[in-house]
């Protein structure tokens, strides 16, 4: 086991952990970002609605309310610096019946208290003009122009890449197994391969943050995984919604919405079901039916037959507070929680990172700005977004741009190769998919899987049957042809 020394260890490299890592990368600090999975952004970050909320939902006074509006305000700048796709489309909450209209005014009022700018109630006519595919029975809507859509996993990857480029050390496949305390303070964080002696720990472990807190004896909150299921529709139908369309919210969720994705698909979901099992990412017939039924209420002409995939994500809901759990753990002043960051956690992430920084400072961490901090991160330029002339020029520079690997999303070999050699290691099929969109189109990897796997194996020096979908035991292939026959023959020979 290798021994390391840190100022701060951040546990968990989802949207929150990576935001904190990037924030701390601005200072002269030794920071380790520790992740149990083979890649960053593997938990709730990879499976959510990817909405940048305006901030009218949360009840005034909660962390959610405060940090949503603050996070929203800095989103455009962060996404510009990190070259992450973000569209400030605005969002609509649609009242389908007269008796839902008072709810819109409630949300409007709450929005005002929370400091959400430019909220407006619009009538049926204007709603249908903006959103011609919304249910014509709709009566009114709340318009929030500061809302938007983003690519959540790309933001997390971008934050991690930017953090690493500014000196943060990322340790993948290192679940935290034990945290050693000394005189009521955290002293050493243990993972399978490392013992990291550290001055501070930040707990951004998502749906496992209660278990990480338990490692320092804290049992004041627990995380309930709340499942949400989704359908993704073909890009041909992305235009059916111009912005996220919410129904009037229920007690536990913002409801099942219809939204364009920033990449041009149409997405519906999520339902909300509280579970015990933190790995239960199954989609279910009942859940998918619920999603479809309710989404059809909002948009009766949904292209039901053109779903390209469905998936489930788990929100990390902190009980009993239902709010973010932010700040030092009681009695362990150098262990800072950033837990229970469910919706609007993505929007709040930049503000959560600042809060955590301030808590660290209050707890005694000195912050000296790094002169060389570079806030910019270059994305992998998507070939599909360029003009024919620009595409021609790129192929001249690198012939690998002339080889299409994923036909649905027009991803070239050059992009896949780049994805595999960036500051954050990418070693899996899903990693390539999230960085390039190879396999995210309408054929869902039918065409590109063998091609991406071959490039991945070549670039990382693996045999094709060592390639995994998402690390661990998720091997894509199980040996070579003739293996079974030869081993049977051998067994017979021995017999």
């Amino acid at each position: 086991m290798e021994r390391l020394k840190a100022d701060v260890v951040i546990v968990g490299a989802g949207i929150i952990g990576t935001a904190i890592a990037r924030e701390l990368a601005r200072y002269e600090l030794e920071v380790f970002l520790v992740e149990k999975e083979a890649d960053v952004a593997c938990g709730s970050t990879k499976a959510n609605t990817a909405i940048v909320h305006a901030g009218y939902d949360a009840h005034p006074g909660t962390w959610k309310a405060r940090l949503n509006v603050r996070g929203n305000a800095v989103f455009p700048q962060i996404c510009r610096e990190l070259e992450v796709p973000f569209k400030q489309t605005g969002t609509l909450v649609v009242a389908l019946k007269e008796d839902e209209v008072p709810h819109l005014y409630e949300l409007l009022e709450r929005g005002h208290v929370n400091g959400v700018p430019d909220l407006e109630i619009i009538g049926r006519e204007e709603l249908l003009c903006r959103e011609p595919n919304v249910n014509p029975k709709a009566v009114a809507a709340l318009w929030a122009p500061t809302g938007g859509i983003v690519n959540a996993w790309e933001l997390a990857i971008a934050q991690a890449e930017n953090a690493v480029e500014n000196g943060v050390k990322l340790l993948l496949q290192q679940p935290v197994t034990r945290i050693e305390l000394e005189d009521g303070r955290v002293r050493t964080v243990f993972t399978p391969d490392f013992a990291i002696e550290t001055r501070f720990v930040v707990n951004a472990a998502g749906r496992y943050s209660d278990e990480v807190a338990r490692l320092v004896g804290q049992e004041n909150f627990r995380i309930v995984p709340r499942k949400g299921e989704y359908y993704v529709f073909d890009k041909r139908f992305g235009h059916m919604a111009n912005c996220p369309l919410f129904p009037v919210p229920t007690a536990i969720s913002k409801g099942i919405l219809v939204t364009p994705t920033v990449e041009g698909n149409l997405l519906i979901g999520p339902n909300a079901q509280d579970l015990e099992d933190k790995e239960d990412l199954r989609t279910t017939p009942a859940g998918l039916k619920e999603v479809l039924t309710q989404a059809l209420e909002l948009m009766p002409d949904l292209p039901v037959k053109d779903a390209i995939t469905n998936f489930a994500g788990l929100r990390a809901v902190a009980k009993p507070s239902n709010d973010f759990v932010l700040g030092p753990a009681p009695g362990v002043p150098n262990f800072i929680n950033a837990a229970g960051i469910q919706s609007p956690g993505l929007t709040a992430a930049p503000a959560v990172a600042e809060e955590v920084r301030d808590h660290l400072q209050e707890a005694g961490l000195e912050l000296h700005g790094k002169k060389k901090f570079n806030p910019y991160r270059k994305r992998i330029t998507p070939f599909r977004e360029l003009s024919r002339e620009e595409q021609a020029k790129l192929i001249e520079q690198d012939p690998r741009y002339g080889q299409i690997v994923c036909r649905c999303e027009t991803v070239t070999e050059a992009e896949v190769v780049q994805a595999l050699h960036r500051p954050v290691p990418c070693t899996t099929m899903d990693g390539v998919k999230r960085r390039t969109r190879a396999g995210m189109g309408r054929c869902q990897g039918g065409f590109c899987t063998p091609r991406v796997a071959a490039i991945l194996a070549r670039e990382l020096g693996l045999s094709l049957d060592e390639v995994t979908k998402k690390g661990g035991a998720s091997k894509l292939l199980l040996g070579r042809t003739k293996d079974i026959l030869l081993s049977e023959e051998e067994a017979e020979a021995h017999a």
Binding site: Y231, V232, R236, E279, L281, R282, T283, T284, P285, G287, L288, A307, I308, T309, N310, F311, R388, E389, Q391, A392, I395, E396, P399, R400, Y401, G402, Q403, I404, R407, C408, T410, M429, C443, Q444, G445, G446, F447, T449, P450, A454, L464, D465, T468, K469, K470, G472, A473, S474, K475, L476, L477, L478, G479, R480, T481, K482, D483, I484, L485, E488
Partner: protein, 426 residues
Amino acid sequence: MRKIECDVAVVGAGPAGLAAAGRAKAAGAGRVLLIERDRELGGILQQCIHNGFGLHLFGEELTGPEYAYRFITENQAAGVEVLLGTMVLEVRPDRRLYAINRRDGMLEIQAGAVILAMGCRERNRGAVTIPGTRPAGIFTAGTAQRFVNMEGFMPGRRIVILGSGDIGLIMARRFAWEGAKVEGVFEIMPYSNGLTRNVVQCLHDNDIPLYLSHTVVEIHGQERVEGVTVAKVDEKLTPIPGTERRVPCDTLLLSVGLIPENELSRDANIELDPVTGGPVVSDEMETSLPGIFACGNVVHVHDLVDNVTRESWLAGEGAARLVQGRQPRGPLLNTRAGEGIRYVVPHRLHLANLKERETTLYMRVREPAEHVRIEALLDGEPILSVRERVVRPAEMVSVKIPPGSIPEGRTATELTLRVVKEGERG
């Protein structure tokens, strides 16, 4: 940007593109350019190492590569030019193509006629909405076929196959011959979706069970597939509660249908038939855009490559006639899918062609039936009737209309095809 001019540009060099390009050249088109995205010609045929190709056309049982090879050598001798590793990104209505490859970079190709022969793709898990987890080990049958036959790797060792499409049946046998355990083929319909000969040769001969009226209702496993839950379905194809059974496996293969690959056609605003998923075509195999032709699985999914070839010859011929100014003139009549028929291809027929040559209409029936007649009605009046002992949705029906079947001077507008039970009068 390199610019190329040609008489006929063919997009895709699977069986359709190979046949169309060769025939265009033979019919007198000058410069014929065959554009293929893969590293070699032949398309999906290259991974179809089983035999049975060409039985109808050549009276021989060829393997996929052998079948392709015949056309490849013929084209080579005829002087068809080939661009390999080249992806067409865009087809413009003025028959200008944009394509890329490593060597030439971006190519702008101006063609006199374009033939679309992009083939089809497999429906996947999302298209059929199978609930459950999302582990490694879920493949479409064709992707698995590529891994086994072209890369030499095994996608799995204990296999469940959902859907009884032909590729699924072929792969069931392929896996069995590799020593893998094939737990069964589960088909949601009460009948198989593959050719009868494949059910017999692939499943029966290898003791692989076929479960009709069954489907997969859940996928299990976090990292790699660990099993699936299967269930019986009722007449509405809804799983019947209480019939669920868990089948351990490490791999789920999907053979749940094929979809014509019409991204390029759609972007060019070519009219598509919502039933076939492919372009609406005339008997010249010309689409709604003049000078742009289509053939093979991009038009409608075939079950026999022999028919793909025949249809593609028409497209090649049609494109050659166009560039030589020999296209048929005069009125067209529409074909229509009547009772019991899902679709008919081609969609429009030149009366001039009907007079001069035999015309083959390809169609699929809605449901299996025995002892029927396929009837052709010209504006409601029967002109032709063909007996079929058995018809099944999985097996394409072709009806040949002899030259001169339409009475001289007749102003017809519609030819309807329908299924009539033997003994009943329509």
